[in-house]
C-alpha cells in the first residue's frame, strides 16, 4: 500500500443505464510514469475526473495519494497537480503572477513562493520574461511553464491531459525531459496522449476501450503480446473493436 500513488478497484461510473467506466482496476506506483490511453469516448476523462476528486464513482474503490475518492476529495485536490492543453495558465496574467497565483491557491507560503519562483524562472530560462503576459509567449514555453506550475506545490501526483498537443517535435521532447526529471524526483506522472511514440516513454500503459481497461503492461510487453512492431499497432488493434465513441 505504502508505495502506491493510485489504487483503483472495480471503479465504475454509470450515467443512467450507460456505463461510462466499467469495473476498472489498476495501481500506479509512486514515481511511475503511467500512460493512460484510449480512443475518444472510451471513458478516460471520466476516470480522470474521479481521480482528481471532481466526480464520485457509482461503485468500486479508489484512493489517490492515500485519500479516498468518496469522502476525501478536498485532500486529494491538495495533493495533486493538473495540467491539460485546454486549461493551464491565465493568459492575461504575467509569468510571475501565474506562478504566485497557483502557488497561493495550493497554500504555498509567500516566502516559499518567492524562493521557488526564482529558481523556476532560472531553470526555464525565463528571467527576462517574468513581467510579460503569458498570452504572448510561444506555445512551447507556455506548456513548459504550465507543467512547472502544476508541480510547483510539489504534489504527490500530477495528471497531464494531452499535454503536448500541437507542439513541435523538438519542444515535445524537451517537455518529456521535464517529465522524466519530475518522475526521478519522486512525483508520480499520470498522462494521456494521442501520440503513440510518447506511450513508449511511459513505464506502463493502460488502454481503455468502451469503458473497460483492456490492456495494462509495460510497452515492450504489450508489443510482444500483440506481436506488434509499434504501440500504434497495439492501440489500433484494441481500439478499432470499440463500438462507441464520445457522443
Amino acid at each position: 500500500m505504502e508505495n502506491k500513488a493510485i489504487i483503483c478497484k472495480d471503479l465504475t461510473k454509470k450515467f443512467g443505464d450507460f456505463y461510462a467506466v466499467n469495473k476498472v482496476s489498476f495501481d500506479v506506483a509512486k514515481g511511475e510514469i503511467f500512460g493512460f490511453l484510449g480512443a475518444n469516448g472510451a471513458g478516460k476523462t471520466t476516470v480522470m475526473r474521479i481521480l482528481c476528486g471532481l466526480s464520485y464513482p457509482s461503485s468500486g474503490e479508489a484512493t489517490v495519494a492515500g485519500f479516498n475518492v468518496y469522502n476525501q476529495q478536498e485532500s486529494i485536490k491538495k495533493n495533486i497537480g493538473y495540467m491539460s492543453q485546454k486549461f493551464s495558465l491565465y493568459e492575461n496574467l504575467t509569468v510571475l503572477e501565474n506562478i504566485e497565483f497557483f502557488g497561493g491557491i495550493y497554500g504555498v507560503s509567500r516566502k516559499e513562493i518567492k524562493e521557488r519562483a526564482n529558481k523556476l524562472v532560472e531553470y526555464l530560462g525565463l528571467q527576462n520574461e517574468t513581467k510579460k503576459l503569458v498570452g504572448g509567449l510561444p506555445l512551447g514555453w507556455k506548456q513548459k511553464l504550465a507543467f512547472s506550475v502544476a508541480i510547483f506545490h510539489r504534489p504527490e501526483i500530477v495528471f497531464l491531459d494531452e499535454p503536448t498537443g500541437g507542439v513541435d517535435p523538438v519542444t515535445r521532447r524537451q517537455f518529456w525531459d521535464m517529465i522524466y526529471e519530475a518522475a526521478a524526483s519522486g512525483i508520480t506522472i499520470f498522462v494521456t496522449t494521442h501520440y503513440m511514440d510518447e506511450a513508449e516513454y511511459c513505464n506502463r500503459i493502460s488502454i481503455m476501450v468502451d469503458g473497460r481497461l483492456e490492456a495494462l503492461d509495460a510497452p515492450g510487453n504489450l508489443k510482444n503480446r500483440f506481436s506488434a512492431n509499434s504501440m500504434d499497432e497495439v492501440f489500433y488493434r484494441l481500439a478499432r473493436k470499440a463500438v462507441r465513441s464520445d457522443d
Partner: protein, 317 residues
C-alpha cells in the same frame, strides 16, 4: 498544371510585429494530395485563410485554380471546399440541416450531388436528426468533410482535420482522402502529426512561418545527411543524458522506445563506437541498429539546423 500557387507570400499581424507567414512559395499540382506539415503557430492556418480569400497577404502573389486570390476571390469561393481547423458547422442545427444549408448556400441540392459524399455520409446517416454539437469528434469530422464536398469542389482545403481525433479515426480519415484523390480532387491538407506526412504525395515542412523543405516524403527522408542509429538500454533516460554529453555524438533524442542518434564522424565502426560509449557508462540490455529516418527525424534535423544558423546552438540540444 498547378491548382494552387503561392509566390513569396508574407503575412504579418499586429501592424507588422508578428510575422506569421514568411516569404512562402510552393505549388500544388492538379489532382495532388499535398500536405502542409508543422506544429501549432507555424503559419498553416494563415496560409489556408489567404487561399480561401478571407485574409489578404501583406505581399506576394497566390492563385487557386488559376484565379488570383485578391482580384478574383469570388471565383475561388465557388470552387473550393474548406474545412477550417476549428469545428465551424452550426452546432444547434441537425446533421441534415447543416448539409442542406451548405448545399443551398452554394446554389445546389443534397440530392443533386449526393454521389460525391455518399461514402462518407453513409457513416453518419444513422444520426441524421442529431444536432451537430452532440456528435463525437470523429463524426463531426465526417460531417464537416461532407459539408465541404457537397458543392463538388475542384479543390479541397483541409486545415488540421485530424487534430484531437484518436488514432483509429485518424486512419479512417486518411482512407477517405485517398478515395477523394482517386476521383481527381486536388487536396491541400495540414497536420501537426508527422506520421501522417508519409500518406501525402508531396509535403511542405513548415516552422515559424518558413518552409523548410518541399518534396515527396521519400525524397525528404533520402536527403537526411547522416546515418541514423536507434539505441536503447535498460536505463533509457540515463542513456539519453550519457550520449548527449559525449563528444562523439552529434545529435541524440528520444524516439519511442529508442534513442535516435547521429555521430559527428561517420566512420565504418559507428555501431562499435555506440556500443563502447554505452558500456563505458555502465549500461546493460543494449540494443543498437541502423535505421531509415522518418519524416519526424528530418523535421527535427531541419529545425535544429535552422536554429543553429540563427543562434549557434548545437544540434545536441
Amino acid at each position: 498544371m498547378n491548382d494552387v500557387i503561392l509566390q513569396q507570400i508574407t503575412k504579418t499581424y499586429e501592424k507588422g510585429k508578428v510575422l506569421a507567414v514568411d516569404n512562402v512559395s510552393f505549388e500544388v499540382q492538379q489532382g495532388e494530395l499535398f500536405g502542409l506539415i508543422g506544429p501549432d503557430g507555424a503559419g498553416k492556418t494563415s496560409i489556408f485563410r489567404m487561399l480561401t480569400t478571407v485574409l489578404l497577404p501583406d505581399s506576394g502573389k497566390a492563385s487557386v485554380a488559376g484565379f488570383d486570390i485578391v482580384k478574383e476571390y469570388r471565383s475561388i469561393r465557388n470552387l473550393v471546399g474548406y474545412m477550417p481547423g476549428r469545428f465551424s458547422l452550426y452546432q444547434d442545427l441537425t446533421v441534415r440541416e447543416n448539409l442542406e444549408f451548405f448545399a443551398t448556400v452554394f446554389g445546389t441540392t443534397v440530392d443533386a450531388n449526393y454521389d460525391q459524399i455518399k461514402d462518407i455520409f453513409e457513416q453518419i446517416k444513422p444520426f441524421i436528426n442529431r444536432r451537430a454539437g452532440k456528435l463525437s469528434g470523429g463524426m463531426k469530422q465526417k460531417l464537416a468533410l461532407s459539408c465541404a464536398l457537397i458543392h463538388k469542389p475542384e479543390i479541397l482545403l483541409l486545415d488540421e482535420p485530424t487534430t484531437g481525433v484518436d488514432a483509429v479515426s485518424r486512419k479512417e480519415f486518411w482512407e477517405m482522402l485517398k478515395k477523394l484523390k482517386a476521383q481527381g480532387i486536388t487536396i491541400l491538407v495540414s497536420t501537426p502529426y508527422m506520421d501522417e506526412a508519409i500518406l501525402c504525395e508531396r509535403i511542405a515542412l513548415i516552422q515559424n512561418g518558413k518552409i523548410m523543405s518541399v518534396d515527396t516524403p521519400q525524397n525528404i527522408i533520402r536527403a537526411f545527411p547522416k546515418k541514423l542509429f536507434a539505441v536503447k538500454s535498460d536505463g533509457i533516460y540515463k542513456l539519453l543524458n550519457d550520449f548527449r554529453s559525449h563528444h562523439e555524438i552529434e545529435s541524440c533524442y528520444a524516439f519511442g522506445e529508442f534513442l535516435h542518434i547521429t555521430l559527428k564522424n561517420q566512420e565504418l565502426s559507428a555501431m562499435e563506437s555506440l556500443q563502447r560509449i554505452a558500456i563505458e557508462n555502465g549500461h546493460s540490455g543494449i540494443v543498437i541498429k541502423e535505421m531509415e529516418p522518418t519524416i519526424e527525424d528530418s523535421f527535427i534535423r531541419l529545425m535544429k539546423q535552422n536554429r543553429e544558423k540563427d543562434t549557434g546552438m548545437p544540434l545536441t540540444q
